[in-house]
Structure formats: structure tokens, C-alpha cells
Symmetry: C2
Subunit: 377 residues, 2 copies
């Protein structure tokens, strides 16, 4: 990291047993206490919420999607507004992904070359190209605090050859990203380690990617179709290969358990659409596991969704009321459950943070492992 950089990462405490860390990450739009869960605001909006509600959940940073914003409203239009913070009126830190993950998810609508990806808009079929330089252009226009390298993310399961080819391209593209990133002074570029479930590839990728002096590093390709045990194994293997003094971001994760496990591996940041997507389908995280509010057993239940939870939803509403809203497909159901689910993940991360700071993370983690409820959630 350059000396004049507005980005600093300070590790406050490390769990000697696991390597789990508590830290703080300074960005141009504020300091983030880690480990941190980042809600996803795909289209420059966290679905079903207004930003005062997002702020009230205690969110410190949100993620937005370059692919979606490139298509609509267009990164140049956002730039004209003075960037994404101004466009969506969110003054805290933002992270944008590179667009790669969404494009690779298009399957039949895209063609990959060594230069980048040709793809068709999932809505109107129009053709576009994004490669590493274009991704940097888009993300420089959007102006997030943290931006991501353009990587190739293979679907799991992938053969060793497929995984290696994608990894090699990811490394080539990282060079291009580093050389074309035009706002190094106020946007932190994170490199991404790939390699699917192959540990020798992950090792090679970690070495290659961390050879760049970047302000942070991510582990990619763990949220697409592999079974949980294989992914946990890879995260446990890969996280310690990343520099101790830089933030580590596990992309697209996850459930309350996934987050806890990632923290145990030494991860500092994660994002996932799960809390808001589950909410739109009437489901919620609780300490008893995941619950579906549509279920008839909640029809007369006067208790809050999670007794003791101080989120807006639990402070004001009963399970019966949420059940009623979910049954009638009222939008407030999605809003109220999104609030609770996001708060639930923030609390999960905060509980880990406090345990790390207080030197009792091993006990805390082992206690959770014994609770089947956490694994169910």
C-alpha cells in the first residue's frame, strides 16, 4: 500500500488458536470494524429497503454490482452524478464487484476469450464486452471505496484443467487491472485468488496474486455450486496464505454458520444476497435456525421473531403479524424480514469480533459447533 493511501488496515487482535482476527479498515468514507458483513445493493439499492433502514441495521459498508450498474443506469451516468455514493445517497463505504461473477453466471449468453467476455444483456439481448480494463473503467466511474479485480470464476465442480485455465486468466487479468486502475489514490483494488477446490492451484494463485502490493485480497469461486465441506476446507487452507496485514474478503458468503466459519479461518469481510433474498421469500435467520414465517404455526404467535433481538422488526412486530404480511405477499414483509436478517448477520460478525477481542474466540466457536441450531441456520 502506498504511504499516502487513505486505506489502512489495523489488526487489533488475533485468536492464537484459529487465526481469527478483529480489526479496522479505514476507507475514504469511514472506518469499518471487522469482521464485517456487507449487505448487497445490486442495483444501487438494498432490495426492499430505503437507506435510512439500511443504516439503522448498523451496516458499515454495502456492496453494489458493476455488471448491473454498467447496464442500467450506465457507469458514465453514475459518474456524471459524482459517483455511486451521491447517486444512491449512501455516504458510508461501498465495495463494487468486478462484474465477472454475474457475467460468468450468464452461461449461454457469453463467450470468454483471453481478452475478456462478450455477453448479452439478460434483459434485452444487446451485446457487450467487459475485460479487465473495462471493468476498471466501470469501477473507476462508479467510485466505490473498494473495487475488485476482474476474474474468471469457474462453476463447481470443475476439472483441474478448467480450474487452472480460469486461474491463469485471472492472473493475467489482474496484471491488466493493476496497470489500468486509474484511481489508486482513492479506490482500493483487491486481488482475487481462484483455483476451485484444488489446493495446489489455490496455493499458486495466492502466491501470484499476493505478489502484487494491493490493499486487500479476496477468495473467489467458493459460492458457486460446491458442497459445504469442500468449500470450508478450501477457505481454511487459503485464508492463511493471504498477508496478515491486509484485509481478507470471502466473496458471496453466506449463512450465519458460513460467516462464523470464515471468521474462524481468518477472513475479515463477506457479502451475500441471502438475508434479503430469504426475506423476500418469507424466511428469517434466528438463533433456533432458519424459519419460514408462512408456516401456520406462527399464525397466533405473539412473540417477536427473535426474542431479545433489538432490530426494528423484533422491537415492534410479532411473528403473527409477519406471518400475516408474508401470507398476503405484502411488501412490508420483505422489508421487515430483510432488516432482521441483515441485523442477524451483523450480530453474528460482532459476536465473533468481541470474542476475538476478549481472547475467548475458541470457546465461543466450539460452543457454536456444539449447537446444532447454528448449523441449521
Amino acid at each position: 500500500m502506498h504511504l499516502e493511501s487513505p486505506f489502512t488496515f489495523n489488526v487489533e487482535a488475533v485468536c492464537p488458536w484459529s487465526g481469527a482476527r478483529a480489526g479496522n479498515l479505514t476507507t475514504p468514507h469511514g472506518v469499518i470494524q471487522t469482521p464485517v458483513f456487507m449487505p448487497v445493493g445490486t442495483n444501487a439499492t438494498v432490495k426492499a429497503l430505503c437507506f435510512d433502514q439500511v443504516e439503522a441495521t448498523g451496516s458499515q459498508i454495502i456492496l453494489a454490482n458493476s455488471y448491473h450498474l454498467f447496464l442500467r443506469p450506465g457507469h458514465k451516468r453514475v459518474e456524471k452524478f459524482g459517483g455511486l455514493h451521491k447517486f444512491m445517497a449512501w455516504q458510508k463505504p461501498i465495495l463494487t464487484d468486478s462484474g465477472g461473477f454475474q457475467i460468468f453466471s450468464l452461461d449461454d449468453l457469453r463467450t470468454i476469450t483471453d481478452e475478456g467476455v462478450f455477453f448479452k444483456d439478460h434483459r434485452d439481448g444487446q451485446e457487450y464486452f467487459i475485460g479487465p480494463a473495462k471493468s476498471m473503467e466501470i469501477q473507476n466511474s462508479l467510485g466505490a471505496d473498494i473495487i475488485m479485480a476482474f476474474d474468471e470464476c469457474v462453476k463447481n465442480p470443475a476439472t483441474f484443467a478448467e480450474a487452472k485455465k480460469a486461474m491463469d486468466r485471472t492472473h493475467d487479468w489482474l496484471e491488466k487491472c493493476v496497470s489500468t486502475h486509474a484511481r489508486k489514490e482513492d479506490q482500493a483494488l483487491f486481488g482475487i485468488v481462484q483455483g476451485s477446490i484444488y489446493k495446489d492451484l489455490r496455493q499458486e494463485s495466492a502466491a501470484t496474486v499476493t505478489a502484487h502490493d494491493l490493499p486487500g485480497f479476496a477468495i473467489g469461486g467458493v459460492a458457486v455450486g460446491e458442497d459445504r465441506t469442500a468449500i470450508e476446507d478450501i477457505v481454511l487452507f487459503t485464508a492463511p496464505l493471504l498477508p496478515q496485514n491486509k484485509p481478507r474478503y470471502l466473496m458471496g458468503v453466506g449463512t450465519p454458520w458460513d460467516i462464523t466459519y470464515a471468521i474462524r479461518c481468518g477472513i475479515d469481510m463477506f457479502d451475500c444476497v441471502l438475508p434479503t433474498r430469504l426475506a423476500r421469500h418469507g424466511a428469517a435467520f434466528t438463533s433456533e435456525g432458519r424459519v419460514q414465517l408462512r408456516n401456520a404455526r406462527f399464525a397466533e404467535d405473539e412473540k417477536p421473531l427473535e426474542p431479545g433481538c433489538d432490530c426494528y422488526t423484533c422491537s415492534n412486530h410479532s411473528r403473527a403479524y409477519l406471518h400475516h404480511l408474508v401470507r398476503l405477499k405484502e411488501m412490508a414483509a420483505a422489508s421487515l424480514l430483510s432488516i432482521h436478517n441483515i441485523v442477524h448477520l451483523h450480530k453474528q460478525a460482532e459476536a465473533c469480533r468481541h470474542a476475538i477481542l476478549q481472547g475467548r474466540f475458541k470457546d465461543y466457536f466450539e460452543g457454536l459447533v456444539r449447537q446444532e441450531s447454528c448449523l441449521k441456520a
Copy 2:
């Protein structure tokens, strides 16, 4: 009204030119400054909003629908919770309608007799009956501050004979409502004047309905299918037939202009789904008239929806951002536009109230009539 009643209506000022009034209405859940617009919370939720957002719009009272709540979750279930205020966690005043209007809108799904209406649930086809006594039972269970008599509301245009038959039934049913209303001490029953567009019927209905010593009176049947001029004529004719010292409620109205005109006629209360329904379709009230945010001309417009408006939406977001959300059918579009539209109607009512209190309502009203923009809205 009984002496021990928690309901008092105090007329603070009357415009000598028009009879427009400013007052305050005391209810068990607080004092309402009139004239007042009441947002509609059909299913015990104001669509697309959480109640902290409703409260932040300055809403003093909201309306909920007996028909919907009778079917789902059921009035007995709400009663078990301690009533609607507790069930939906809204501590300010509530008004419930009688269910009549929704049932009569079912057309082919209902059969009217002198006892009440047999109808089929619009969702699952199950058969039910609601008459005046049942409507009182439902509304007593829901426990709103203000409840409405069960009336027959004819579709406009109606023949004189049809209108008279419905009016006569409405009068018979009012007797039943008065005699079966079981919570007179803490729920104010309002009678409803019917008679379609026939002035002699409206006159007869006003005389018959106001012969009951009720805490308030409403004008019904003006929001269903008649042209604006005929309705305005009927409101102007009927409002002065209602007691000066009781609140007057015009049901199902309306646009910013409709509200202003109703106030000019001496109306104190109105409700309408329009602000929230328009919001869900991307439209907003402004001082320049109604606008559709989907329109391409807003794509790069950095101004707030209504410059000078201090609502959450206008304080934080640009027209371009709202355009973006509307185009992508993001739920936040419905929330943000609902907030603005409700605030817009509250401001319209408040502006009238202040003009009445300051003795300048005639000038204010005539100024609006000259502004074509207001009529467009």
C-alpha cells in the same frame, strides 16, 4: 355524543366564504388536526412502508379495511392480540371502514338482501355473510378509534330507484349498527349519507342519518365511477347538511385537487389509496401536476422529485435515482414514492388548514383554481 365520551371535535376556525373548517378531533389514541388526509392500510399495513416510515410522513391516523381483515387474519385473531393497534404496532388513531364498499365492489361474487350481503372471498371463493350487526362485531373486535356504519354503496351511474333502494337500506342498517355497536364508550361510530347524484336523496339521507346522535358523519358513494363535476356538485350540496359541530368525512377521496375542493365544501377527513397505488406504478404528485418517473426525461435529472419538499425521498434522492429504481421495478421505488405522495397530500391538507386559521382560505383556494397544475395533479 355522550358526556363521558373520549371523542370531542373542536372547530377552531371556519372560513366565512366557504364554510371550510380547521379543527381538532380527540380520540382515545390522540388528537387529530383537521382537515386530515388518512393513508390507507388495507391489510393492516400501508403498502410498501414500515410504520416508522408512515409516522415520519406526519400521518395522524390511518384507515384499515374490515373486509380484508375479516378474511385474513380474521377479526377474532386480531382481537386476541388486543386489537388492531397492537396487532400492527401503530399507536396513533385508526379508522376502519365497514367492509361494505369492498363487498359491493365484488359484483358477481355477492348477493344483497335486506339483512346484509352474502359474498365469496375474492381469493378462495369461500362464502361469507356480512350485515350491519356483523360489521359492528368485526369492527368492535378490530378496535379502531373510529368505525363506520355498514352501508350499501351503489355504482354510479345509478337510476333514482336503485339509489333510493340502497339509501333506504343504508338507513335501516344504520339503526342496526347503532343498536348493536358494543363499544360506544371507546369507538366512535360514524353514520354515512348515501343517495348517489340525486340531491333530494342526499337531503333525505342527511336528515335521516344525522337524526342519530353520532360522533361524526360521512358522505359515501362519491368515489365510484361518477364524473368529477357531478361529484363536486354533490359534495358541495351535502357537506353543509351535516352538523357543524361534528367531523365530516368524505370517503375514498382523492387527488390533491379533490382534497382541496372537499375542504372548501366543509369536509374534515378523507382517505384514498391513490398516493400509495400511484407510487407502486411509478407516479408522483408534484406542484406541477402528476409525473411518471419512468419517463426518459428524468434519466439524468439531478433535482429532487419536488424541489423544496422536505420529505425523506426529496431530502435524499434525485429524480434520476427514482427513475432508475422505477425502471428496474425495485421495491424501494414504491416505498420512496409512497412517502412523497402521502406527504404531498398531508401538506395539501395542512396548507388549507393554515389558510383557514389565518383567515385567507378564499384567496388561497382561488389562487389554486387559477393554477392549472393543481387541477392536473
